[in-house]
Symmetry: C2
Subunit: 318 residues, 2 copies
Amino acid sequence: MPDYAQRLHSAIRRTQTPSLVGIDPRWDLLPQEIRDKASAGGGSQAEQHARGFEHFSLELLDIICDSVAVVKPQVAFFEQLGIPGLQALHRVMTRARELGLLVIADAKRGDIGSTAEAYAAGWLAGEDPGAAEWPADALTVNPYLGADTLQPFVDVARQRGAGIYVLVRTSNPGAAVFQDPRSEGHAIYEIVADRVCDLAAQTTPQGEDYGCVGAVVGATWPEQLQQLRERMPGVPFLVPGYGAQGGTSADTAGAFDADGLGAVINSSRGINFAWHTAGLQDEFGEDSWREAIAEATRRMRSDLAEHTPAGQLSIPRA
Amino acid sequence: MPDYAQRLHSAIRRTQTPSLVGIDPRWDLLPQEIRDKASAGGGSQAEQHARGFEHFSLELLDIICDSVAVVKPQVAFFEQLGIPGLQALHRVMTRARELGLLVIADAKRGDIGSTAEAYAAGWLAGEDPGAAEWPADALTVNPYLGADTLQPFVDVARQRGAGIYVLVRTSNPGAAVFQDPRSEGHAIYEIVADRVCDLAAQTTPQGEDYGCVGAVVGATWPEQLQQLRERMPGVPFLVPGYGAQGGTSADTAGAFDADGLGAVINSSRGINFAWHTAGLQDEFGEDSWREAIAEATRRMRSDLAEHTPAGQLSIPRA
């Protein structure tokens, strides 16, 4: 069975881009036509919003599925709507898998012992979407509880050809508060990084460069991103913070290896709600929201190809 | 509107115990009669297990609802079963609220900005169970992403009379790995503790002793528990690790204030599966699993009353 990093890199090579599209539906930002249709279906507010989230997310998948290899549904937005929201999430994840996309569930789960095993078993479907109730290829995981609490995720990931991305250095303004205190010369996020690196090494197949244990490192901290890439060879990166959060393509350049592999770069709002963004709102009105999403995706692909080693992906391999 | 700490302490005073019962259903440990009935209903394995989890959890609630004030469903076990599991969780939480129990959703959520807002809005129902899709009084929250990511939870908690419990020092064996590195003389968990303390202080009503921002501190680290109680006045504690994980009642004594308030002590496996535990398996067979749960709950109440300041709760106040 191909492991997660092999599946990921094969998908990135096929699409020639490390672009990762976040699926982050927000009711107030949805096109009016989708809100109207969702509301017309009746039911509770949560049911109406969930209907709108599903409709929008499925349209989004159709628009981007030939341009990118990986999508990242943000679980919080669906979970907030209770059961109808999670039913919508399930259908969106299932559809993404049917379209051949890799699905990273952004749920930031983490717990101890048998509880961590339950999250791992429930979310890490890996190669076979039917292997878990939630058909994700990979899951974001919070390390605060300890390295022992990551092990159950690693074990399930390895068995199923799935991956995890452990939060190392997050993209938010306050990330430094608990991640940067230094102990014996090392910041906490570096201590986490070293454990993640050990776990990735344990899962790296002979002859391969990457394991199935990845790291979340924000594009909003380009210096730390570059340092962590050097510190964590063999660890696939998930880089949030590009676009709406202020990170530029050049800020993400340090996340890649020389072949343009080893990282996926996420954009959520900048793609989902492209017709509201500074760069595109003059060109696209809400009536052409689909075209705006397609154009934003094209621009992201070009931007990353031009300013990062991901440009190597379009050069045929010897 | 009474805030979370007032509601919590009123419930603890009424039941005269800080005992908190975790709701942690595990298929392999359920009574055979419940597994048989759940399987007889047919459907997918997840549907069968979810049916068993719901049946068992509702019975558990009926057995303990007059003996304790607070329950803590472990979300992972339900989430693992996908939609049927989460439907079961929703009904269990709803029933617990109907029985007058306080419900702490043990979900260990945490994310940045608008995503944290979504988790907070979705889980923190607070005083009115209808105020959120998930009718929890309180939620466990992971701090790793930063103090700024706790604020949305604090804001919603305050608005709705809800509470949060931030992971400070967890009960697992490997807790020290990322929580104990010392920076400028302070362990990371102490740095987290100080921020939690500040947030609690902001939310403490005039004339009250506690805020709505609590801390998770494991009974398996009695020394740190005592130190943190002194360091964090005004912060309600949620103490896991009593019982099956090895913490004794004496180990939890340091979590309380002099009135026996300020902490809830959790037992999950020791109550849920009491007829499997060392202390009770000779007295109770599986046929008397209900009696075993009732007896384990009585023993926990007595044990905490005898060996901790919670004994003060049964003395009439002047």
